[in-house]
């Protein structure tokens, strides 16, 4: 029976619509038998499936490429391996070494053999298939691990410690990692760059684009001070190298912790939410995502965070989460929650709780969820002698500009909850000091600004107003002689310093030769109205 083993082939299971390969091995006699490809729609397969017995290749009459290929490879006899009605392989035999035809006994023996071999071949095929699937799964899991390693290595290990500010970050990757990222960048003069972004696509490609985009942003942020210019530079650098059909959304902002000023630009990212006592607002700015088109410019926005105010930065993983009824979490819901919990220290925890309650807890997370919060401390730091800056700004030296200065300072000290009389006295003092600075210090030159700095020091409200005068400090306020003014022997004016002196708990003056500063000091607790 050596002829039986001259060529043994079997059908390999492949995905539908792929060709069926009849794998053939080197026969014991040494002849090399080449593999034969049989297309899934080749009529010979249907014929073999419907004929359980041995088939004469030589005499079979059929228009079949597979049949021709078998003949060309020297096969004479094919015995279908059929298991539960399914053709799972073939025993292919070349000519007998005796050069005699296959006998009826040979055929019966081969058919019996085929009946016993078929289940074993099927088991072998299933084992092979499972091994292939396991290898595929392993490659996939390995890729996931690589993507996670890349991503997590490029996310900040900790949030910056900024006195008077609270920063918090939350990153929960989906099983199949997408390209969420955030970053904190220490800049000159104590400013802080804050980045949040999302790369399209998933896995290693997204992680690599995220890593390279992050690096480019870091480099650009150190050399450019405008958020819009930073995004423009990053876009131009990313565009040539980013894979086709990929891009990154990104929101970049710069915080001046001393003043609370936040400047920002946006490359197609979901808008952050600003929480203030008067409600929730979006930080709106327009711009194309990074990597789509070079030469883009990016609109900039600016806002000043007051004590007690906060910003939530987020990626689409939260708002695009679905519940079991395919309802989306959505922006309106998030905005409402920020309004509800925005003033609480654990806004992120609240949002995660709401997300968990909204989605089915057993359901696999659809996308990365990234949340970053930036909050300005509410009120003076407890048990701290460090000054807390409430606001700092400049105004042009033009008549009447003391009014906007008064309103801005009043807004900045709102958090201190001054009594109404305290507030009125503060307004009058600020108005008079600002007028003095604009008129006497800066001679009402519009391009020479007056600087106003509002801070809390050791439990006292200190408002410093500086002009560009090199003259010595103003003389101590004298009580105006009203009788002389009414008699016309003295000008009716000259009430400013007197009013200031009577409105504040303490007034200080200083000069550095280039600037004159008057500091108005108010006792927040135990003031003269208390």
């Amino acid at each position: 029976m050596t002829a039986f083993t001259q060529a043994i082939g079997r059908l390999l299971r492949r995905p539908e619509a792929e060709a069926v390969a009849v794998e053939q091995r080197q026969a014991p006699g040494g002849a090399i038998v080449h593999p034969v490809e049989i297309a899934p729609n080749d009529p010979i397969l249907a014929y073999l499936q419907s004929n359980a017995g041995a088939v004469d290749i030589e005499t079979l009459s059929m228009d079949s490429p597979g049949l021709r290929a078998l003949r060309e490879s020297g096969m004479e006899l094919a015995v279908p391996l059929i298991n539960q009605g399914e053709l799972i392989g073939l025993l292919n035999l070349g000519p007998r070494r005796s050069e005699q035809d296959y006998s009826a006994d040979d055929r019966r023996l081969l058919e019996n053999l085929a009946g016993q071999v078929a289940p074993a071949v099927l088991v072998a095929q299933l084992v092979q298939q499972q091994e292939a699937e396991a290898r595929t799964r392993e490659r996939f899991e390995q890729e996931l691990r690589v993507a996670q390693i890349i991503q997590q290595n490029f996310l900040p290990k900790e949030v910056p410690d900024l006195p008077g500010w609270q920063l918090a970050a939350y990153y929960q990757p989906a099983r199949e990692v997408s390209g969420d990222f955030y970053d904190f960048i220490a800049l000159d003069d104590g400013r802080l760059g804050l980045v949040i972004g999302d790369v399209t696509d998933k896995g290693v490609p997204a992680a690599l684009v995220m890593a390279s985009t992050r690096s480019v942003i870091r480099a650009a942020a150190q050399s450019l001070s405008s958020p819009g210019q930073v995004l423009q530079r990053v876009n131009d650098l990313v565009c040539p190298d980013i894979p086709q059909n990929m891009f990154a959304t990104c929101f970049y902002c710069i915080l001046d912790p001393a003043t609370g000023r936040l400047t920002y630009a946006n490359a197609g990212h979901d808008l952050p939410y600003l929480h203030t006592p008067s409600g929730v607002a979006e930080l709106h700015a327009t711009g194309m995502p990074l990597g789509l088109l070079p030469g883009m410019s990016y609109e900039e926005g600016e806002v000043t965070l007051r004590p007690g105010e906060s910003v939530l930065f987020h990626t689409d993983g939260l708002v695009e989460a679905h519940n079991s009824e395919r309802e989306m979490f959505g922006f309106p819901r998030l905005m409402d929650l920020v309004g509800l919990y925005g003033s609480q220290p654990d806004l992120i925890g609240r949002l995660c709780g709401e997300l968990a309650a909204f989605t089915d807890r057993d359901r696999e997370q659809e996308d990365d969820v990234t949340l970053v919060t930036l909050s300005r401390s509410d009120g003076p730091p407890a048990d701290s002698d460090l000054p807390q800056l409430l606001d700092e700004f400049s105004i042009a030296s033009e008549p009447g500009n003391e009014r906007p200065a008064i309103e801005r300072v009043a807004d900045a000290v709102r958090v201190l909850a001054l009594t109404a009389p305290q507030l009125e006295r503060m307004k009058t003092a600020v108005g008079e000091a600002t007028m003095n600075a604009m008129e006497h210090g800066n001679k009402y030159q519009p391009d020479v600004p007056v600087l106003v700095r509002v801070a809390v020091k050791e439990g006292r409200l200190c408002i410093a107003i500086s002009d560009s005068s090199s003259e010595p400090p103003l003389p101590e306020a004298q009580t105006p002689d009203l009788d002389a003014k009414l008699a016309g022997t003295e000008t009716a004016r000259g009430w400013g310093l007197f009013l200031i002196q009577n409105m504040v708990d303490e007034v200080r003056q200083s000069s550095d030769g280039q600037h004159h500063t008057i500091e108005l000091v108010f006792n927040i607790e135990g003031g003269s109205d208390a």
Partner: protein, 122 residues
């Protein structure tokens, strides 16, 4: 340029003219205030009432304008009455001693009730 709207409107009443001030009393108010005061004094009244009920802001220049009006009134032997001051500006009128030279009333009705009879009634 910020908006510094100020108006001073004269109402000629039986006892004395009333000048209704509205807005911010500062340097931008000078012309309107002087014109209204001249109009109010044209008939030689014994008193003029400055109604501060709708005044939102008074600065040191505004105080100087009031001092100037007070000086004019005293020269003309006219009583200057002020009504409608907020608590804060009443405090300012006290510390500047303006309150020593004029009559401060809570509101217009109170001023009319306590005002001296006009010259025409003498």
């Amino acid at each position: 340029m910020p908006d510094h709207e100020f108006t001073a409107t004269v109402r000629l009443q039986e006892r004395f003219p009333i000048i209704d001030l509205k807005g911010e009393v500062n340097s931008f108010a000078e012309d309107a205030l002087d014109a209204a005061f001249s109009q109010a004094c044209a008939t030689g009244p014994s008193a003029v009432l400055l109604n501060f009920e709708h005044v939102t802001y008074v600065n040191s220049t505004g105080i100087a304008l009031i001092v100037a009006l007070l000086a004019q009134a005293r020269k003309a032997h006219m009583q200057l009455i002020v009504a409608g001051l907020s608590e804060h500006y009443r405090h300012v009128f006290n510390i500047t001693r303006l309150a020593d030279f004029m009559t401060i009333c809570d509101d217009e009705a109170g001023a009319i009730a306590m005002a001296a009879p006009s010259k025409t009634e003498n």
